[in-house]
Amino acid sequence: MNHSSKLFSDELNRRRFVSLAAKSFLGVSILPWASHTHLNGAGLGLNRPLNHAPKAKNVIYLYMSGGMTHLDTFDPKPGTETGGPTTAIKTNADGIQLAENLPLLANHAEKIAIVRGMTSTKGAHQQGNYFMHTSYAQRATIVHPSMGAWMTRLDGRFNPTLPGAVVVGGGSQHPLSGFLPTSHQPLAVGNPNEGLKNCRMLWGMTEEKFESGLNLSQKLDRKFTEKYNLDHVNAYSNMYEDAVRLMKSKDLKAFDLKEESESTRESYGEDNFGQGVLLARRLVERQVRFVEVQLGGWDTHQNNFSRVPERCAILDQALSALLNDLSKRGLLEETLVVLATEFGRTPNINVNEGRDHYPKAFSCMLAGGGIKGGQVWGATDLEGREVSEQRVEIPDFNATIAYALGLPLDEIIYSPTRRPFTLTDKGQPLTQLI
């Protein structure tokens, strides 16, 4: 790890700790980086108990796209009609059961917190997906930023040469940085096996030629850049510097999965998701703060009971390998692992042996990053139809993630059209999970 960047990150952590400590002891907020942001309006959350020093520095966000069934994964209902043929298995955490489809994860149950009381009103893919990623309802008039972009906007990057956030396997609908400037744009990686695009010099180009060629560009540009010493011109010079640094950065190797041993790669699973999760771990090790990896295929309107186990096999393997890996490397405390989806699936099984969309009740999961493991938060009724304890709305779930990271929930950022937004709209974090 780069020595100076470690100091930088330690400095930021220290300042953050001081400011948050001050908040709780003195009831006063000191946010040293607030001067360039717009801090007015809805108050500063002084009513919220801030008696924790946030441990999480990074997020690995696993997104199950299509609406993951809760009844066949994290909230099994064995023996009921709605549970179907799915049975439940014991885990290494007392009193917590998982569906039989997640056997490997059962050995890591002491690390995870399952949120069974998720609820939403958005039962369509696009709207649900958007809502989960941004905490705002999708509108035809603005695009809100996703959490990775919010994070770099509110709390900066820790590694100066790598992007602040990365999305692996996301579709074209991902809101990415929304209305925030492109400097906060999460980097989109399609195929984790391919690495980062356009990072290698053109064929036939040598380092010498590269450098002298760029020098020539600068020379030819001298009159122009002297005359037009403007922000939007200089931004390019900065980006070029960043790009060249990235090309030369040994952190670039983070994207090269061939550095990992065969056995490691196998343990995550030789599929795009598994390798994507492995990439996420590598990036987080190099201080990329937010990495999202998407796994699709959960929209099981047909053949739920044959498709879900297959999806779960991929998820189970990757997630367990990740938790194992992170804890072995001592990274679990500072890395928040999130598992989310846009909605659950119907308790009633339809004519095609499938389950349809069901936002009323579903499950998500949190692990690491200071989250108390081995717990279940909330519950659904006997058949999994309604949330019976501890309803959690999507903004609340996202607020919990932000809270674990110590991100300011009340800070208002204005879009270019002067509309005010906060990180999770009005979400209230589940502080009890930490």
Binding site: R200, G213, A235, S237, Y240, V244
Partner: protein
């Protein structure tokens, strides 16, 4: 219409008048430009603005090509412009470019951003409605339909996407009629009302009631059609089941057979489900309406947001009256907003900024100019090409861009266009023009689209003419026929899962393909039942673009089309998206911000392969000349569109390795020892290896070209 003095000429001078009118027309344009010059002059005097000097010919030509043709000029184009000694060459160029293929391509990008066009759009994607909407917009641009007419057609659109492509306006916001209204006001009235959908607007004067009253005009527009067919069939079944006991009826409806039949009918009706239908659906206040001026869930009376009268002549539907109100020259914002948008397009910034957030206290930086432009827009009957023709003749357009960048708050007095980076489309199109010949001509296959329109019309006509009895019979037949395919598809799914479990990659891709084929077959069954076995079903369900092989571009990559001809918007990760092309989720959502992936693309991008291919126009020009200075000249003219200075030539020569400066090999005489029958082959071989040698020699110049592409001068429009 504008001044047409030739009307006053006696009839016998008419033949002269036809040509005379062209000349006068350009004189009229000149006069309009001069009028604007005068207003600017006054403003510059008033605000003590120092007027910069004019830019040279080359930079002016580059500016004009980028702004009117949407790309940099080719080597031929710039050399011919520079060699042209005519005094009116600038006006000539403007007239040449406006209305050209290149102009249409670039106007499409402008419209696409405004209307949030998507090839794969929200409503009607199953039938590729996005492609039809895009096609309609392109047609209007080619026909130079006036702006107000186009706005009216979009707002009042009704029908099926093939009958009236303008219904895409409502399909785009299918299911979100309230948001559609705020898009309308943003686009055509430059007014942001969106906040007021849920509460009184915090910054502006709009109340939630205002919002609902305005939305009432178009709330009745449903983004689906075919309801009449559905009710026809429903009535048929009701009649059929008359007399059956309730229990029997229920049994019938819930039977598997009945469900299959219902699915069949839906499948047959599917292509006819998408479009815009004007209904009498009434808008009511939301259930949580919190203000005193109305009760929650009560009906809303339609009322427009501005005071100009909404005239309803008899026979006018509510929507038509609304459309007329929108485009009325009396409307306080409609004309000002489009005039301002055009000004922004030419000068890089509006007289009013932002261009779509006008308030009561909004003031233009030069109020007299805005007033004048508003009148001018009415005068040219909202003809955007005519309006732009005038604007490009304004003298200030020829001046050197200022070296400061006014922010949104500071007023700017337009002593010159502002320096801007090329848009994503401009950069891409510039690369395209360097990589393939005649880039303006390489377009989507319009014949295929027209065929699609015809097929849809046929399908619609047939379906609507069928008797219910016949329709149901066909549905039953379809149900039976597709049963087999359904079973097939289920079986394939099973096999696919097995293959995935066994990680049999080959089987997975094979089975996926087969599944897709089966899916198409399923759709085919129904379409062919209705239309006959020879019907081209694919035309009903194709969603992508249609390209046809054309020998002119044989050997060139099929990815290299101008931005307006590609899938719109491009996929994330595509060059266009990386450089800030709008994702079309929100109006005017493009950006010209810098990013690291952009720098990486310019440094190491894959398109260099196309550029440095020996058949690209860039390479062809390069290999035509021999001396190093001439080659450097070619590169500068092709990429920066100007001649290099002596200093620059020296800098480049210093950069080239000694290898590049060696003389290029020439063909030798064929030695006598070669037998006569082998001479032809020998000659051919010599030519081939010579071409390769020349090409290899030119590789040093690739690096030079690379340096030029990575300058700020390349990507910024001076």
């Amino acid at each position: 219409m504008g001044m047409k003095p030739y009307f006053f000429l006696p009839i016998f001078l008419l033949p002269l008048a036809i040509t005379f009118s062209d000349q006068l027309s350009s004189k009229a344009i000149r006069a309009e430009a001069v009028a604007i010059d005068q207003i600017l002059k006054d403003a510059h005097k008033q605000h003590k603005v120092k007027v910069p000097e004019k830019i040279d010919d080359a930079l002016l030509a580059r500016r004009l090509y980028l702004k009117i043709a949407g790309r940099i000029p080719t080597h031929e184009e710039i050399t011919s412009y520079l060699a042209n000694r005519s005094e009116s060459k600038k006006a000539q160029l403007v007239n040449e470019l406006i209305g050209s293929s290149a102009y249409s391509s670039q106007m499409f990008n402008w419209w696409a951003d405004l209307l949030r066009l998507k090839t794969r759009m929200r409503g009607g994607n199953q039938i590729g409605a996005g492609q039809l909407y895009v096609h309609w917009v392109k047609e209007q641009i080619d026909k130079n339909v006036p702006f107000d007419q186009m706005a009216f057609e979009l707002i009042t659109a009704e029908g099926y996407p093939w009958e009236n492509g303008a219904v895409g306006y409502y399909l785009r916001d299918a299911g979100m009629p309230l948001d559609n209204m705020s898009n309308t006001t943003q686009v055509f009235l430059g007014t942001q009302m969106v906040c007021a959908q849920c509460h009184n607007h915090p910054f502006d004067r709009w109340t939630q009631m205002d919002y609902y009253q305005m939305a009432s005009y178009t709330y009745g527009i449903n983004s689906s059609r075919g309801g009449d067919l559905q009710s026809k069939i429903k009535k048929y079944f009701e009649k059929k089941h008359q007399g059956l006991s309730y229990k029997d009826k229920k049994k019938k409806l819930q039977s598997k057979e009945s469900a299959a039949l219902r699915r069949s009918i839906q499948e047959m009706l599917r292509p006819l489900r998408y479009g815009a239908t004007h209904t009498g659906r009434k808008l009511t206040l939301p259930h949580d309406y919190q203000y005193d001026d109305g009760k929650p869930k009560s009906a809303v009376t339609a009322s427009p947001i501005f005071d100009n009268e909404l005239k309803t002549t008899s026979g006018d539907s509510k929507v038509h009256a609304y459309g007329k109100w929108m485009i009325d020259p009396e409307n306080p914002r409609f004309t000002k907003v489009i005039a301002n948008r055009m000004w922004t397009k030419v000068f890089g910034r509006g007289l009013v900024e932002p261009v779509d957030d006008w308030r009561d206290n909004t003031k233009a930086s030069i109020p007299a100019l805005l007033e004048h432009l508003e009148k001018l827009m009415v005068q040219v009957d909202y003809d955007l090409s005519e309006f732009q023709r005038i604007l490009f003749q304004v003298t200030a357009f020829e001046n050197s861009s200022p070296s400061f960048a006014p922010n949104v708050e500071t007023p700017y007095y337009f002593e010159a266009p502002l320096l801007e980076r090329m848009s994503a489309e401009q950069i891409w199109d510039s690369f395209v023009s360097l990589s393939i010949p005649d880039s303006d001509e390489r377009k989507q296959h319009s014949e295929a689209i027209n065929q699609r329109l015809d097929r849809f019309q046929e399908y619609q006509d047939t379906m609507y003419s069928l008797e219910e009895e016949k329709l149901v019979k066909l549905a039953r037949k379809g149900s039976k026929a597709s049963k087999e395919i359904n079973n097939q598809m289920e079986d394939l799914q099973k096999q696919l899962r097995e293959a995935q479990a066994a990680d049999d990659r080959e089987a997975i891709s094979r089975l996926r393909r087969q599944y897709g084929q089966a899916r198409n077959q399923q759709r085919t069954v129904f379409a062919k039942l209705v239309m006959g076995p020879d019907f081209e079903v694919r035309s009903l369900y194709g969603t992508g673009n249609s390209y046809k092989k054309n020998d002119r571009w044989k050997g060139f990559s099929s990815q290299i089309y101008r931005a307006s001809e590609l899938q719109t918007p491009a996929n994330p990760g595509h060059f266009l998206q990386e450089f800030g092309q709008s994702d079309r989720e929100v109006a005017d959502n493009s950006n010209r911000d810098a990013s690291v992936p952009q720098a990486l693309t310019l440094l190491n991008g894959t398109f260099y392969g196309a550029l440095f291919n020996k058949h690209s126009p860039l390479m062809k020009k390069l290999t035509q000349v021999k001396k190093p200075e001439a080659k450097i000249d070619v590169l500068f003219l092709s990429i920066l569109n100007r001649k290099p200075t002596n200093e620059e030539i020296k800098a480049c020569m210093d950069e080239l390795s000694p290898n590049a400066l060696l003389p290029i090999p020439v063909a030798q005489k064929i030695p006598n020892r070669i037998p006569k029958d082998k001479r032809k082959a020998y000659q051919k071989n010599i030519e081939k290896s010579l071409a390769n040698a020349q090409f290899n020699q030119n590789r040093e110049y690739f690096a030079l070209a690379w340096s030029l592409f990575n300058t700020r001068q390349f990507s910024f429009i001076q």
